[in-house]
């Protein structure tokens, strides 16, 4: 998945390929891991790489990759959000409920996105202007959203949503729309982070906050902005999440925030801020989904999945620390 613009790829001296490989090192590692996984598990149990399985894997997990896009941006800026799982649960429920209640389909898709942006803008304000550390704000937010959701809905199932609403299940050339969304959004976001003023500002703030301040970058509005955009992606993810099955359980998908964070961290976004790419987190989300799926096909209990997650984060972080601090 190349993310270079057509104009630039016209000039390609050898040096630039070298620096391209260097700066996308982590992404290549993940890609390699994916290939190894597919080949390895596929040989052991060919049903793993059947079209059916691959399709359901992508459909079921594309929304995680999309949520990880926003999360990566937040982490690159030097913050974190542990409430994204609850947010997606809430927004998904809102989306489904609106659909069942007969609102125009387009609103059922857009309103959750808007609400996600507003809620996270609020989080951004608390982090940037009131200077509450993001871990604390989002820890509190997690409870507020989760508790609020269960209190209001009691965890009830939502069903009977009109078929026009089920955007995740639309197919184009045989592939489910979630895949297209995942790819398109990743590419767009990656380009944007790399080439836009805002994107570079986020990298600067995360990488060297002092220098950013001295260079006249306005940190606070940028932080609010990055959280708001993250809310937008969470909204996207929520809509896909809500429409991938015929029913929605109006609870918070368990472990979702951790999975999203894992995708970002393993994808190369350094928790110290300032580095990493959106492309990496999407690949890592796919890798993680593949690992989860492969456990089934390897007859390993799925209950070990979270342990794997924890190990992956640790391994990545330790490697990152080793690279940075030469321990």
């Amino acid at each position: 998945m190349s993310v270079e613009t057509p104009a630039l790829s016209r000039l390609v001296p050898i040096r630039r390929w070298k620096s391209f490989f260097e700066s996308y090192g982590q992404e290549f590692v993940i890609l390699a891991a994916l290939i190894v996984l597919f080949v390895g598990v596929g040989l052991y149990n060919p049903r793993f790489i059947s079209t059916n399985n691959l399709t359901s894997m992508f459909v079921g997990n594309a929304y995680i990759a999309i949520a990880a896009i926003g999360m990566s941006m937040v982490i690159i800026s030097g913050n974190i959000d542990v409430s994204v799982g609850s947010l997606i649960g809430v927004l998904g429920t809102i989306s489904g409920t609106m659909a069942v209640s007969g609102y125009p389909i387009i609103l059922c898709w857009l309103v959750p996105i808007l609400i996600g942006m507003v809620i996270n803008a609020g989080v951004g304000v608390l982090v940037a202007y009131v200077k509450i550390p993001s871990i604390v704000v989002t820890l509190g937010m997690l409870s507020i959203l989760k508790g609020g959701l269960i209190s209001v809905t009691g965890g009830a199932w939502i069903s009977g949503m009109p078929p026009e609403f089920m955007i995740a299940q639309f197919r184009l050339f045989g592939l489910p729309s979630s895949v297209y969304f995942m790819v398109v959004l990743t590419v767009l976001a990656a380009l944007w982070m790399k080439y836009s003023v805002f994107g570079r500002t986020i990298y600067a703030i995360g990488g060297n906050p002092e220098a950013a301040r001295v260079s006249g970058i306005r940190i606070q509005p940028s932080i609010v902005g990055v959280f708001t955009i993250h809310g937008m992606f969470a909204g996207f993810a929520a809509v896909l999440f809500a429409t991938q099955l015929q029913v929605i359980q109006s609870t918070v998908p368990p472990n979702l925030e951790l999975t999203v964070i894992t995708a970002s961290v393993v994808g190369g976004v350094s928790i110290l801020g300032g580095t990493g790419t959106v492309l990496g987190s999407t690949l890592a989300a796919i890798l993680f989904a593949a690992i989860g799926s492969s456990l089934v096909f390897l007859n390993v209990s799925a209950y070990w999945l979270r342990a794997v997650q924890g190990l992956m984060i640790l391994a990545t972080v330790l490697a990152d620390m080793a690279r940075r601090r030469r321990i």
Binding site: R16, S19, A204, A211
Partner: protein
């Protein structure tokens, strides 16, 4: 021809300390004007005023004849003043082109970044600096220090600077890179840019500068065309003829050797150091920034334990791999940066003074508050700390009194070796004298004192012996009677070292990994 920059009657104080006293000098277009002076002479403050980072209390700055008063570095940049600092303000994860244009990037008509224009512009700038091999797309994090500096200069040029201020640009460069940098500076000059070149390296100044201005202790000493001075003249101007004999040095007969260091090495910042300090002796270590003095102290004290070599206390080899080890061996270190390394600013005098001897004022792990208060009160009296009482928070104290608290903390450990790093930096004259008196008294009581200082008069006035460090090594040793300002100053700046430029130490202050 009108002067590009004119500075007249500039004064600046930080709290009670007057850092600049009515400085006046000027810079012409197409001139390299060197600014010379010891650490603490006021050079940094002066260039910060010109660059718009801070404002002067009195006096005037004129650019092209018009009076200006900048409220921010951006404003100064907009007027054509660019600065290349020692601590590089680059973003390691962004590319060279982005760093050069950060904050003033060319935009397309839709408002997005015009990458092509940016890259082309960066390429042109780098070529004009004779750096065709520097790729505009590489991330800055991968570049060597020398190349990063070139990016900084290109950044300065990208803002169409008329006046470029360079603060110790070759401090971190090796010979070849320093020479290339000097070529760059010459090119700039030939283009009509005025350059203020702050450096300690006399050979460079002689190779590059048209005129040189010397500051000393915040005061203007003089400006001379480079052809009319010798190195000796400059050194004299920098350190002053008369050494103030305010230093109450008690003459002692040194006792046994307490601290001995043999072939001590730490990575490449401390190189094969050997020295001895005897009881009752004050050994001063002089040297420029980056010469490795603090790194040496941190190695002896265990923050960055030695990678090879020996440390001996009372003739017996010891291992020091943490500050705790050093403390147990009765070594004390009063750090260079007292605010962040020496004190816990939000805490009280009492808590700070007891910090290093908590285990000794405790019975069965419980801190004995009465002993602690008594200790604090005693320290306040003994060291003459001006404070409302032991319960005052140290951040409210003046610099001199804060330093006394740090000293009190370490004296409470009853050390036998006391290492003091820049003991009177940022302290007013009165407090300076008090601290010097304290040091003399401590030496008189039999402590072995190692004093690192950038203030030559202090080194010369207080030390029984003077060691000069450069590039992580000891390059000269003087007994008190032989230590003259010229001799020591020359050893520090390698003025008499011959034709070649000194090779730069790889370790800058910040490089010592903590």
């Amino acid at each position: 021809m009108t002067n590009l920059l004119e500075v007249s009657g500039i004064s600046k104080s930080f709290g009670p300390v007057k850092v600049l006293k009515e400085i006046s000098f000027d810079v012409r277009p197409g001139e390299v004007h060197a600014l010379l002076g010891e650490n603490g002479a006021g050079k940094s403050t002066l260039i910060k005023i010109v660059a718009g980072v801070i404002n002067a209390d009195e006096g005037e700055v004129r650019l092209d004849g018009k009076a200006v008063r900048f409220s921010s570095p951006r404003e100064a940049a907009a007027h054509g003043i660019a600065t290349v600092y020692q601590e590089l303000l680059l973003f390691p994860d962004l590319s060279v082109a982005e760093n050069i244009y950060l904050g003033h990037a060319p935009k397309t008509k839709w408002g997005t970044l015009d990458w092509n224009a940016m890259r082309a512009g960066a390429r042109a700038l780098l070529d004009s600096l004779d750096s065709p091999d520097l790729d505009v797309d590489t991330t800055v994090g991968k570049l060597s220090v020398a190349n990063r500096q070139r990016v900084e200069i290109a950044k300065a040029l990208s803002q169409d600077a008329k006046l470029v201020i360079m603060d110790e640009p070759t401090a971190a460069l090796a010979d070849a890179d320093a020479r290339r940098l000097m070529d760059v500076v010459k090119r700039l000059r030939d283009r009509g840019v005025g350059i203020i070149y702050v450096s300690h390296r006399l050979p460079e100044i002689f190779a590059l500068a048209d005129r040189v201005t010397v500051l000393r202790d915040g005061a203007y000493v003089g400006t001379k065309p480079i052809g009319e001075v010798t190195e000796g003249d400059l050194v004299s101007m920098m350190v002053g003829r008369a050494i103030d004999h305010l230093f109450p040095k008690v003459d002692t007969t040194p006792g046994e050797t307490i601290l001995e260091v043999k072939n001590l090495t730490y990575r490449n910042t401390v190189n094969d150091i050997s020295l001895t300090v005897r009881a009752g002796e004050i050994v001063g270590i002089a040297g420029l920034i980056g010469s490795g003095r603090t790194e040496l102290a941190l190695t002896i004290f265990g923050i960055t334990p030695a990678t090879s070599g020996e440390i001996l206390i009372d003739g017996k080899p010891v291992t020091i791999s943490s500050p705790d080890d050093a403390r147990r061996l009765k070594i004390a270190y009063v750090p260079e940066d007292r605010g962040s390394q020496g004190l816990i600013r939000p805490q009280t005098v009492r808590e700070n003074v007891s910090l290093a001897i908590l285990d000794r004022i405790a019975r069965a792990f419980v801190v004995d508050r009465r002993k602690e208060s008594a200790l604090a009160k005693d320290a306040i009296e003994r060291f003459g700390i001006r404070t409302r009482g032991p319960e005052q928070r140290v951040k409210q104290l003046s610099g001199g009194n804060q330093q006394k608290v740090v000293l009190a903390k370490w004296i409470a450990t009853e050390p036998r070796v006391l290492i003091m790093d820049e003991p009177t930096r940022g302290i007013d004259v009165g407090a300076k004298a008090e601290i010097h008196a304290l040091m003399s008294r401590l030496a008189g009581q039999g402590l072995a004192v190692l004093m690192i200082s950038s203030e030559l008069p202090e080194v010369l006035g207080m030390s029984d012996r003077v060691l000069v460090m450069r590039g992580g090594r000891i390059v000269a040793q003087f007994d008190r009677k032989d230590a003259t300002p010229d001799a020591v100053g020359a050893a520090m700046t390698a003025a008499k070292a011959g034709a070649s430029l000194e090779s730069a130490p790889a370790g800058l202050r910040g490089a010592a990994a903590l």
